[in-house]
């Protein structure tokens, strides 16, 4: 079957916050939808939870996000919460900042406008 959804991509990078502490950044690109389970949940699950205690999910490169994609983010938050990991989110458009707030994600993850703001605050 021909794919009609843009391939989603994820890359992983180790960042250092203002206090010199390590943060694992997962950068998403393309579509985040029901077809993105491997990219979002799979990439998260492949991380060693003990070695990656603080995570930053970066949505700057995301072109399309729907409620099924948001559900995958919630699944990551749920597993991270159980594992004692801290998750922050950055790079959302103003619209999706509003949507993430509406669905209550801000109760479990802090939203930052971009990576610089996140690293300064974390």
């Amino acid at each position: 079957m021909n794919k009609v959804q843009t391939a989603n991509k994820v890359s992983q990078q180790q960042l250092t916050d203002a206090n010199g502490q390590q943060i694992t950044c997962l950068r998403f690109a393309g579509d985040i939808s029901s077809a993105s389970k491997d990219a979002v949940v799979g990439t998260y699950q492949a991380l060693d939870k003990a070695a990656h205690k603080r995570l930053l999910l970066d949505f700057k490169g995301v072109e399309y996000l729907n409620s099924s994609g948001i559900a995958l983010v919630i699944q990551v938050l749920m597993e991270a919460n159980k594992s004692g990991q801290t998750v922050a989110i950055c790079g959302l458009t103003p619209h999706f900042t509003k949507v993430f707030t509406m669905v209550g994600i801000t109760k479990y993850a802090t939203l930052y406008s971009d990576e610089t703001a996140a690293l300064a605050a974390l």
Partner: protein, 149 residues
């Protein structure tokens, strides 16, 4: 270019995920012609995408040969979007999403589409059909200036 109230566009999508973006782009294009603000267009895009996904998944059971019809009608200060499928509609609406219940695993992580639609547009109604000769549909209305209504 003059945009006339009463202009109507119809899009027919195969019930295949990804094609909701065609309806989303069409709706955004029409709203832009009407002079909607960028933030209202973003609200509209998400609501239309979620309505189409629901129609494909729940209404047409992801049968790609059954189309989802989307009729977009320009009115004086608002855009009406009707998304039709061959399902029989909902028996009971899903509960309002509860992030705490989702995080504890008591509620599925999915199931936020209807909530988002209702939160983002000015009017949303779901009408059940018979699934054969009478289609089910959701009718959305989004106005140019939500805060003024």
């Amino acid at each position: 270019m003059t945009v006339t109230s009463g202009s109507k566009v119809e899009v027919r999508l195969p019930s295949r995920l990804g094609f909701e973006k065609v309806a989303m782009s069409t709706a955004a294009g029409m709203a832009k012609l009407m002079g909607f603000s960028d933030d209202r267009i973003e609200d509209l895009k998400t609501a239309v995408a979620e309505a189409c996904i629901n129609a494909m998944e729940h209404g047409n059971q992801m049968n790609a040969s059954i189309p989802v019809s989307v009729v977009l009608s320009m009115k004086a200060n608002e855009l009406e979007v009707k998304v039709m499928d061959n399902g029989t509609g909902m028996e009971t609406p899903p509960p309002t999403p509860d992030i705490d219940r989702k995080m504890s695993g008591e509620e599925e992580a999915r199931g936020m589409g209807m909530f988002l639609i209702q939160a983002l547009v000015d009017e949303a109604e779901w009408v059940s059909g018979t699934g054969t000769d009478e289609q089910s549909f959701v009718r959305l209305v989004i106005r140019m200036n939500k805060e003024n209504e």
